[in-house]
């Protein structure tokens, strides 16, 4: 019986082998979405726990990393949905900071806030597609959708962001 079959039957040693082998990859995927090391570690542990709980649903001839990525993505989306509002991102200017640097930082803070107002699924899709530049088919697989739906979500995210940033006086021309 191979490793995946043993895992599907609940063999904890097989699961340990799989977990140790894939934990780095799962963590990397999650941290690229949530962009926080500590949260990504917690979500990786939760992902591996859920993988073990759902082992009966795993097809032994299936693609374990892709399955793990899908579970991880769902957890990351749930995390973004319930994430508490952050501390104000626009900090008080320090006395010695150059004015241009402060403006740039303020702009980045506003872009970040606008981005975090997007629905969680759009945030995840846009992060993976535009920031991380992952292939659309990989994103679609992780989200359990089609590449067409991913393109639509990216389009929607960009449109909403553009609108929000324009309202803030930060249209595309001033976000450089």
């Amino acid at each position: 019986m191979d490793l995946l079959q043993r895992f599907a039957f609940g063999d904890i040693d097989a699961f340990e082998t799989l977990a140790r082998k894939h934990q780095g990859e799962i963590y990397g995927w999650i941290v690229s979405i949530v962009r926080d090391r500590a949260i990504a570690e917690d979500l990786t542990v939760e992902t591996l726990w859920r993988i073990y709980q759902a082992r009966h649903r795993f097809r032994a001839d299936g693609n374990f990393p892709a399955w793990a990525r899908r579970i991880a993505t769902n957890l990351a989306i749930d995390h973004l949905r319930v994430r508490l509002p952050e501390d104000p991102l626009i900090s008080e200017p320090s006395a010695g900071a150059p004015r241009d640097y402060l403006l740039e930082r303020e702009t980045r803070d506003q872009v970040r806030q606008a981005f975090r107002r997007l629905p969680a699924k759009l945030q995840v899709t846009a992060t993976l597609a535009l920031v991380e530049e992952k292939p659309y088919d990989e994103i679609a697989d992780a989200l359990g959708t089609t590449t067409g739906a991913v393109k639509t979500r990216v389009f929607r995210a960009v449109r909403i962001l553009r609108k929000q940033l324009t309202q803030l006086g930060l249209g595309p021309a001033s976000t450089k």
């Binding site: 963590y27 990397g28 726990w49 709980q53 535009l130 962001l161 553009r162 595309p172 976000t175 450089k176």
Partner: protein, 72 residues
């Protein structure tokens, strides 16, 4: 929406969210093991639903107990 604007939004996002370190610095297996020990396996909702349906059927038609026992 024109392509130039899209590119600028794209650039703004990449500047706002700089690359993150994707390397895992520690082994998470001990944490997973603790979690597995700490949280007993929950009974999934569909098992409860199945149990409820079964109980409902038996209450509605108690004679089915005999059929059930025969099959057990």
């Amino acid at each position: 929406m024109n392509e130039h604007d899209d590119r600028q939004i794209h650039d703004a996002l990449r500047q706002t969210f700089p690359p993150v370190d994707m390397e895992l610095r520690r082994d998470l297996w001990p944490d997973v093991l603790r979690r597995l020990d700490a949280r007993p396996q929950a009974i999934p909702w569909y098992d409860w639903a199945l149990l409820a349906v079964g109980a409902g059927v038996l209450l509605y038609s108690p004679k089915l107990v005999l059929v059930l026992m025969y099959h057990l």
